[in-house]
Symmetry: C2
Subunit: 444 residues, 2 copies
């Protein structure tokens, strides 16, 4: 259901390919994807999107229609169009497993492939990895402060398009959310789907109570009633009053939902009304402009809320809607490369990241060094594709989710805070420093 | 190329439909899409996305696979699944033309359809209208301060997924951008596509000059050279030095691109180098973390830059990554409705927006009133779909772009500022106030 047209790329990839093909520059190139620096209020990031990248690389083809359209631009020579028509990705991928916690300057994915192949894929590869990593990293913040609460992605309507909605559901589930309201995320990825009712359901009935009864009868196994359309506490009392008649039909009221106003205050009042009415097992679910900061506030206040629908702020990563990430050439034809553009210099060569833990399994520091340099610690980048074919075990979403949970629990406590987190130590090994100096000497 | 699965919706739409079908609640419902309030630093918004909404409504079907998947959830009764399998949108749409400038509380789209139809479409309709309106509104800000510059969307890699990349190219072009780097936007929408070269092209060559020559020979009609990989001014001199040999091949250097550092300073120095070298016609194009604030700064400084690639900040609308928008029930079975949820109360009934202009054609104020109430001014909502079929002229993207340009030029000067804009006057007519009071009296 995600989109993998070969034209989903930047035009400069194609103009560069024209140059590479003409000059027969097709030796092996190594590119790495990494984040330059963390956005404000982020202490760590969570890698996500690898599975969609691998599918993209395996399926990447120019269709006859696409070749014809490119020919119509008159920008490309016939020999280049022939090469594009036969294009396949035949390279290698090394990557951190999805769900791995990572930090700036650490490559989370490395491509080794003939130069035109490694180049062409840049735009879509970044488009996939950037977005899911952005959302998984945002979602993890809510997960860590509300692990015993039900957390549901509610963001489809304000996600940036259809694919963003679908992949935000995936990335947030991977990071520990319990599910999504987006139905297609259930069909595409097997993510648990949650749904209740909207204000319009209440408004189309002349009596709020009647709306509740109709909804309960239509969805007897999933009775979560929205109670803030007119007056929240009066609606909670109406819910209590409905219990006897619904019980006669064998219908249980699973929960109520609040969607506006002072959520903690309403939750306290509603909890009392429900408890007094014998509905101790009926849960309170809250939504409406919630992000991890509000979540933290509600939990600190001990608001009696059992679950949260988190929408816009999650699916747009509203407080940090993009990452300063890059996909950069590190080596070509066996020679390490770097750019030195002001403020954007990169570390050259093929790299590996090693992680070091304390006795209780908490991460202490990482080392970034050359892939072939000896180093202690746990190596994080693994071989996952060779010759354009996936060679490693491809974990399912539930397996990734469990791995992510383990990763998040290995974070130092100070890094789990929502703001003012200390910097995690990422050591650049002497070998890498030396290589950077050598590369600069070659291009004075 | 955009995604229109019927399961691209929130689960609650389907649980509500189950209630509506069971209760035979299928009378006409009226929903309107509007923005509640402007984000910080926005004085106006630009409506966009209608064309994709109309296609969605025309094509909306549940596929047999989707019905089967829904059956497997065991949440839906067979009679409801039969209704979904036969689902078609048969309603009416009234909307402001794409490119219309609008303000809070003004509906830009109204749906009139049997209740289940008007309800089901909510999530995807919002997902489409919200995003393109967000991006068109962001793009217009750059357009108004840099109308004589070449503006190109560079944002695909950090757009939130593939559809966001494609539709950001569309929405920014509609708002006055000159084109996009995203190739599929050219094939899908006929948007002009721009592309130059990346740093990797320079890095894969042992000499920067050689990279320039290879690129120029491969793309003789599109020679825009990236000059900041190592040292910007030295690279500019290399460009000048290449002129004689390229001229012999009939190749002209169209432009150079800057992507890092102090862009104004580099542009001044590079302009001098190019001019001294006889390259007065070679343009300077700049990119790298640009948004409308930096653009304004560069233009105020009179930096000699002819065009800009604007990427991440545009495609994510980074300073305001979402709009506080809603799609709300205004009428059901002939009776006006509203919700009163705290901070989220809506104006009931079917509405029309009338715009008033001064003698020079500049907009002065708008009136929101009932659709059947008399009012002076230009009515902005037009009938575009009846019986589920588009009935109005469907303008092409270039026509929409010209209309948008006219709209933006009718904005009061004070509203064109990037921040601290005054509020535009939107008058709520007495008829609407009276109806709201009447509705509240019905639901005390």
């Amino acid at each position: 259901m995600t989109e993998n047209s070969a034209l989903l790329t930047d035009m400069y990839q194609l103009t560069m390919l024209q140059g590479y093909y003409e000059q027969s520059m097709e030796e092996l190139a190594v590119f790495e994807f990494f984040v330059r620096k963390l956005p404000k209020n982020r202490g760590y990031l969570v890698a996500a999107g690898l599975d969609q990248v691998l599918t993209y690389l395996e399926q990447l083809r120019f269709s006859p229609d696409e070749i014809e359209w490119l020919a119509g631009t008159r920008l490309f020579k016939p020999a280049v169009l022939d090469r594009l028509a036969a294009f396949r990705f035949t390279g290698e991928v090394h990557a951190m497993p999805e769900g791995t916690v990572f930090f700036p300057n650490e490559p989370i994915l490395r491509i080794t492939a003939p130069l035109p192949e490694a180049q062409l894929i840049e735009s879509r590869l970044m488009n996939i990895l950037h977005f899911q990593t952005l959302i998984a990293s945002k979602a993890a913040r809510s997960v860590l402060i509300a692990e015993d609460k039900l957390l549901v992605d509610f963001g489809m309507r304000r996600a940036h398009g259809s694919e963003a909605a679908l992949l935000a559901a995936r990335a947030s589930y991977l990071a520990g959310f319990d599910g999504s309201a987006t139905v297609s995320a259930g069909m595409s990825f097997g993510i648990p789907v949650y749904g209740t009712m909207a204000h319009s359901f209440v408004q189309t009935h002349s009596q709020e109570s009647q709306a509740f009864v109709h909804f309960a009868e239509a969805n007897p196994d999933n009775v979560v009633l929205l109670i803030d359309t007119y007056d929240t506490e009066r609606a909670a009392q109406k819910v209590v009053d409905l219990v006897p008649s619904l019980q006669e039909q064998g219908i249980k009221i699973k929960g109520v939902r609040l969607d506006s106003g002072d959520l903690a205050d309403h939750a306290n009042k509603v909890r009392s009304i429900l408890d007094r009415g014998g509905l101790q097992d009926t849960t309170i679910f809250a939504s409406g402009n919630i992000d991890e900061y509000k979540l933290d506030d509600l939990i600190t206040q001990k608001a009696p809320i059992d679950g949260f629908g988190i929408g816009t702020h999650l699916d747009t990563s509203a407080d940090a809607p993009y990452l300063d990430c890059a996909y950069k050439l590190q080596e070509y034809a066996g020679i390490a490369r770097r750019k030195r553009s002001e403020g954007k210099a990169t570390w050259p060569g093929r790299k590996q990241v090693y992680r070091h833990y304390d006795d209780s399994g908490v991460m202490i520091f990482d080392t970034v060094t050359l892939a072939d340099a000896p180093c202690s610690g746990q190596s994080l980048l693994q071989s996952v594709m060779q010759g354009g074919t996936v060679t490693a075990h491809r974990p399912g979403l539930i397996e990734i989710r469990e791995y992510t949970r383990d990763q998040l629990h290995r974070l130092p406590v100070a890094l789990r805070k929502l703001s003012d987190t200390p910097a995690y130590s990422v050591v650049i090994a002497a070998e890498l420093q030396a290589l950077a100096n050598w590369v600069d000497e070659q291009n004075p």
